[in-house]
């Protein structure tokens, strides 16, 4: 059964990251994504949820099956009211990190998914939308 409604997971702690990831895995499987794409979607959610937890403390991941011109896809939205990102071009570079990480998360999500949009305002927060199309 395909869930047509959108599901949201509040991100407040590390357990919520696992929760969001599991939900993404489940919905992408139900939609018929192949197992590599299921893993890509699950990883993308993990990266976005961990960024919320690390940099904004809390926020929300929304997972939503969509249809566009007859094409099915899964849309992941990450929302937080954290510090925002000053230089988006900079954080999209491989290896850029302010937390001693690998700096692989955001550029990675862009490559894992088909569409990637980031919208951020300093002191207001960050909104990221990533879509994977069902092939």
């Amino acid at each position: 059964m395909i869930m047509e409604t959108r599901s949201s997971v509040p991100i407040n702690n590390e357990w919520d990251i696992v929760q969001a990831r599991q939900l993404g895995r489940q919905i992408s499987r139900e939609m018929g994504f192949g197992h590599v794409d299921q893993a890509r979607i699950t990883t993308a959610i993990s990266e976005l949820a961990r960024n919320i937890y690390l940099y904004a403390n809390n926020g929300e991941i929304t997972i939503e099956p969509i249809v566009n011109l007859g094409k099915k896809g899964l849309k992941i939205t990450s929302r937080d009211k954290g510090p925002g990102i000053k230089d988006i071009r900079l954080v999209m570079q491989d290896g850029y990190t302010t937390s001693g990480g690998l700096g692989a998360g955001l550029p990675g999500v862009k490559r894992l998914m088909d569409i990637f949009k980031i919208d951020s305002t300093l002191e207001k927060g960050t909104n990221i939308v990533a879509i994977k199309w069902l092939r």
């Binding site: 590390e14 357990w15 990251i17 696992v18 990831r21 197992h35 590599v36 893993a39 890509r40 699950t42 990883t43 993990s46 990266e47 961990r50 491989d94 990480g101 690998l102 692989a104 998360g105 550029p107 990675g108 490559r111 894992l112």
Partner: protein, 106 residues
């Protein structure tokens, strides 16, 4: 030689790192095989911890071989731009042990 199969999740990853280093220290193991065949995703967080484990084990004189990396995991690591450059890998546990023996010279 220590051989372990792990179920790596966010909560256990750091604990795993500490436990493994303790164990290397206690046993004086010269080689460690970490089998990842049950791990279905590796994100940048887990990749960092694994990379650190390899470096730290090296400091303690133990060589690590990662085995059983699933195809989907290999694809994702590539998408994430993460290279396991200086990390020794093998297809399965048996080949991993063989590789360790060879690397340790006998």
């Amino acid at each position: 030689m220590i051989s372990i199969q792990i179920e790596l999740d966010d909560h256990t990853a750091i604990q795993f790192q500490e436990d493994l280093l303790e164990k290397i220290h206690e046993t004086g193991a010269k080689g460690v095989v970490i089998d990842l065949s049950t791990v279905d995703i590796i994100d940048s967080y887990i990749a960092k911890i694994l990379g650190d484990v390899v470096k730290m084990s090296d400091l303690l004189g133990a060589k690590v071989v990662l085995t059983g990396i699933r195809p989907a995991v290999a694809i994702i690591l590539t998408d994430l731009g993460i290279r396991l450059n200086n990390i020794s890998t093998a297809l399965d546990l048996e080949k991993g042990l063989a590789k360790l023996k060879q690397d340790l010279g006998g």
